[in-house]
Amino acid sequence: MTIFPLLRRKADEIKIPDLAAQERSRLLRYACSLLGNRDDAEDAVQDLYIRLCDRPADEKPRNIQSYLYRSLHNLCTDRLRQRPLRTQPAELWTNICDEPPTNNEQELRYVQQLLSTLPPEQAEVIRLRFYGEKSFLEISTLLNTPLSTVKSRFRYGMEKLKNGLFHQSRT
């Protein structure tokens, strides 16, 4: 099954902004998991869209999906760097495993905090799998990384999170 019907078209027919629009919800979730709040994530996705519309029509990246997620990742990283110091809830700095989140905002911050404890390459695979809804094969193409490496990064990342969540809370 092809999740993205646009990908079935010939490469010449694909308009990048169209693809970005179709991928919007996945891009938004991916950005949310990086930035930890929806407002900033929506702004980042909007910036991405503007950037895509401004591109000369004849310039086409080799792998559009990869280009979209890479660009969004860079935009989110820029935003995180530029972000001024802001007041953060105290629970973010205490043991995050103690209490499950109780609302959507907390859930998102909780996910962002969990993933920030992982090596970036492992967190990236988990983000693309769960929030970008990409298969391991698609992730290996997106990241230009062998499939076996993608799976092992996913496994080690998940195991670290698992150990943090369950074994820490038991002790």
């Binding site: 909780y110 996910v111 769960f130 298969s135 999170l161 698992k162």
Partner: protein
Amino acid sequence: MTCEDFKNAIIDRFDTGQDGRLSPECTEHMEHCPECTRYADEMYATAARLQYHLPTRKNTPRSRFIRRLMSAAAALLIFLSGVLTGLSNLFSTSVNAETSRKEFLSNAARHLSNVGNYFVEFETRSTPYETFSHLDATLPFIRMSLRVMHQNDSLFWRMEKENGRTITFDGNQQILWNTNSVVVGNKDVGFLDQWLHPDNLLRRQTMFTDHSDNRKTDMRETDSTIVVTSEGTLNNLEGKDVRYRIENVFTKTTNLLQGVRIWKEHKGDMVLVLRSTECRYNVALTKEDILQPPCRFFTFRQEAEIPSVTATKKQARQLRKETAVQAAERILNALISRHPEQATEALYYYQSELPQLMDGLQGCTVSTFSKPETRKDYSGIIVFFHLTRPDGQTQKRHIALRRDNKYQFWIVDGGL
């Protein structure tokens, strides 16, 4: 299979396009390797903890001044709440155990609704084409499954009885796949009994303790699980009190539902009528998994909403004035006399089964209609009657009718 092979196989389960079911080799390995069983459970639970719902966007950007002002207000609020908490602790009574059990169930319900995708398989004493809540202690077990998928803030689900009734929901409409007919309804149509609805799977059970008489709840812990048991009586279709016991088992570390069992009283004994055989979280599901039609041939397709009725004003007025008992008598006699056109509008949901219904009622007579009865959890009414077979045998039967349609006519909703 080694433990390493098992762990690799589990990772493959997280890929897209997987149905979440473990291979027989993995299942066999889990049977004699508790470490790997725990590994799999914790991996699924970790994936479940990574799910989130997108928060709603705040429309007005806050200025730095407003943020500071709100920080100050929040600080004041925290101070005041600290003072009030101190006072309330001073005057509080001991914790009410029943409340804590209900809170636990409510929290578990919230956990369940936050999980991305999940798959629950049940065995239930029922028949393939009865409603999903139909539990009969005298029948053998049949298999039933529930698949739930969250995607892009939309909910998809599929409830299926093996080789029988199936309901699918694509975020907008529910489709009921019956014996040989397909009924399409909007998202609020009541194809699925409320307590089994994915949005209510545990919430309704929390309410069970409130709605049932002589209720009794109990919560106990083992090393790895928390078991919540509720017991009480509910009125059955015939108005008799029937005792039920519901047991929910939760994994201690995740508070996620691990299993459900329901017992129903039958001739003085509590008989197990529903048991879950598998609960899997964060299984990879696709829309096709959820929405594909059952492997059967369907000849009828109809809308759940009753289409336009071509009745004269006089006929419409007569139908609206009809009492439930009068309607029940007219509908049953129409079927017995093989003239279903005398009750076309009332038999709308039975169009595909009319020949079988008329054959089943051939030569029968109906008598002794009861007063219409209502139930707390049903928006229609039930009329009981005596059905006398051609061989002289008499049975007590019922017919369920409802008139919550735009024409306010009585429509047969069940029993036949």
